[in-house]
């Protein structure tokens, strides 16, 4: 026992570190041993093949952040089942596909298929992507749509469901409660922040889609706040996601209430970042005499 094990309901992880969806591909096995991280979440899968957005798809911003609008480039569900799942089946680490869809029906259809596959340990629902049937609003921006979506998917599978919440809402707590009431098991808090950046010399937006999702160290305090709020308001385990660059950042999210932490942008800079962060958490535990990392979850001392 290393003391790094965490349980999120019935999902048991050897440590709290996993990739944020969209920042991890099979090539990462050239740099890290997947068996050393808590879980693996590949890029969101869609039902059919999607080509994604034109370039430039990413840009860097001044204050420690980046904006991306990849557009969920995906090979589709058939390819995912035939190639991606067998690849990850080679590892003992829990495998959590991330699902994106254009409609509730499509979410249901994909999750029903994935839920029936043994190698799938849980499903992350990317409800923070734009819903084409609803003027481009994300499903996760509306509590009643979130509720409807999770309830429908819930009927198809007993596997842990993990809605990934959108931060682009007035009250993330409301959405979190709607997901809890509809049978979600775990919440990922959160997806990227809708943002925009302009090249002042060319006067053009820096990415082709004009707006995109903001990530990187700049957003960490925003995510710490949201994890804290959601932790107070629901009893679901939380996976914190956003701006974690090192072990202390991960600890901060856990103190705010996260049971596990996703790493995204940090892996772009250092492909071994997840392993480094895991080791830094271990070092923090030694310094503070912590035997079980779960002791610190929600352990922020307010007042």
């Amino acid at each position: 026992m290393s003391g790094l094990e965490v349980s999120l309901g019935k999902l048991h992880l050897k440590n709290p570190i996993m990739p944020a969806s969209g920042t991890f591909a099979e090539q990462m096995t050239n740099y890290i041993d997947i068996n050393e991280i808590g879980a693996v979440i590949p890029k969101s899968i869609t039902k059919s093949r999607r080509t994604g957005n034109p370039t430039p798809r990413i840009c860097e911003t001044k204050a420690g952040g980046m904006i991306n609008s990849i557009g969920i480039q995906s090979e589709g569900l058939t390819y995912f089942k035939e190639k991606t799942i067998p690849f990850y089946a080679n590892f003992s680490t829990p495998f959590i596909p991330s699902v994106s869809a254009d409609s509730i029906e499509e979410f249901v259809e994909i999750c029903e298929e994935l839920g029936a596959i043994d190698e799938v340990d849980a499903i992350e629902l990317n409800i923070s992507c734009p819903n084409l049937k609803n003027n481009g609003l994300a499903f996760g921006m509306d509590p009643s749509i979130s509720h409807e979506l999770v309830s429908q998917v819930r009927k198809t599978t007993n596997k842990p469901l993990i809605p990934k919440l959108s931060p682009n809402v007035t009250s993330i707590v409301e959405i979190a409660k709607a997901c809890e009431a509809s049978g979600a098991d775990i919440l990922t808090v959160s997806n990227t922040f809708l943002a925009m950046s302009i090249d002042v010399h060319t006067r053009k937006p820096k990415i082709s889609n004009v707006m995109g999702g903001y990530s990187g160290p700049a957003i960490l305090p925003l995510v710490v706040r949201m994890v804290y709020q959601v932790y107070q308001a629901t009893s679901l385990p939380i996976i914190g996601c956003g701006g974690v660059m090192n072990g202390e950042d991960a600890i901060e999210l856990m103190l705010a209430g996260a049971s596990a932490v996703q790493i995204g942008t940090a892996s772009f800079i250092d492909p071994e970042a997840m392993i480094t962060i895991r080791d830094e958490i271990e070092a923090y535990m030694k310094v503070h005499g912590i035997k079980d990392i779960q002791e610190i979850i929600g352990g922020v001392v307010v007042r």
């Binding site: 990462m28 480039q73 800079i269 492909p271």
Partner: protein
């Protein structure tokens, strides 16, 4: 793997361009192929946040050094330009696929725009070692921006320099130049980098003369190792067009397959 190299020099060679040479601690990252790139952590701090991809300019395996030629343009390359001799520079690579040389190739033409000459001169030096004759058309904004004029000449590359100031870089003119070279020098391969317009011209030329042709593409990159899908180009194959990651399947592609939007 990311390795910490030692900066041997990092000097300004013209108004906008820098030349960087680093010593690699061990030989494990070799061999490095012309056309491949390294993802460079420009500063030890968080500005810039992301690495910057630089194609390899000189590969000196015997002395375990690498050289890069870069244009100082944004936050990343400005930070890199500040780096001093003896500092440690974190580089990730070599990444991507390099240039290939068609079997039986005897005379090749490289067509570069701006800093595109960096990756193409790595190829030109390789060609020289393979006893393949190399001709070049090097296009730049101004005469001040001419890069590698003496070096290419010393390496036996017959290079024609053209620029925007006197209008010699006009696509029509460059096309005539290239056509003349193709017919007079029995060119059997074309390689290009750095300009969309020139690439389209070269694609047409290669198609007309049925020549082997490759292009090295540039794009904003996130991870550089295939995870983020930030850098893609459109590739036409078997009558269908699909987006592929430049960092993984490129940055060098068969020119006839690249779709220019």
């Amino acid at each position: 793997m990311a390795v910490k190299t030692e900066i041997l020099f990092n000097k300004q060679i013209s108004k906008r361009y820098f030349h960087l040479k680093v010593k690699v601690p061990n030989k494990q990252l070799f061999p490095v192929q012309a056309g491949q790139f390294f993802h460079i952590k420009c500063s030890d701090g968080s500005k810039p946040l992301l690495r910057r991809p630089l194609s390899i300019f000189r590969i000196n395996e015997a002395e375990s050094t690498l050289e890069f030629l870069y244009l100082v343009k944004g936050v990343g390359t400005m930070a890199l330009a500040e780096r001093k001799k003896e500092e440690r520079l974190d580089i990730l690579g070599p990444l991507g696929k390099g240039f290939s040389v068609a079997e039986g190739s005897e005379n090749i033409l490289v067509v570069a725009r701006g800093v595109g000459i960096a990756t193409l001169s790595a190829l030109a030096f390789k060609m020289k070692r393979m006893n393949i004759s190399c001709f070049a058309i090097v296009s730049a904004r101004t005469k001040e921006d001419y890069l590698m004029e003496a070096e290419l000449k010393a390496a036996g590359v017959e290079a024609v320099f053209v620029n925007d100031e006197d209008g010699t870089s006009d696509p029509h003119h460059v096309k005539l130049l290239a056509e003349t070279l193709v017919s007079e020098k029995k060119i059997d391969g074309i390689y290009t980098c750095g300009s969309r317009r020139l690439s389209i011209l070269m694609k047409e030329l290669a198609c007309e003369h049925q020549l082997f042709a490759e292009i090295a593409l540039e794009e904003n990159m996130g991870c550089g190792i295939g995870s983020c899908y930030g850098c893609v180009c459109q590739i036409e194959e078997e009558e269908s067009i699909r987006p592929v990651r430049i960092c993984m399947e490129g940055p060098v592609f068969p020119l006839e397959k690249v779709v220019f939007a």
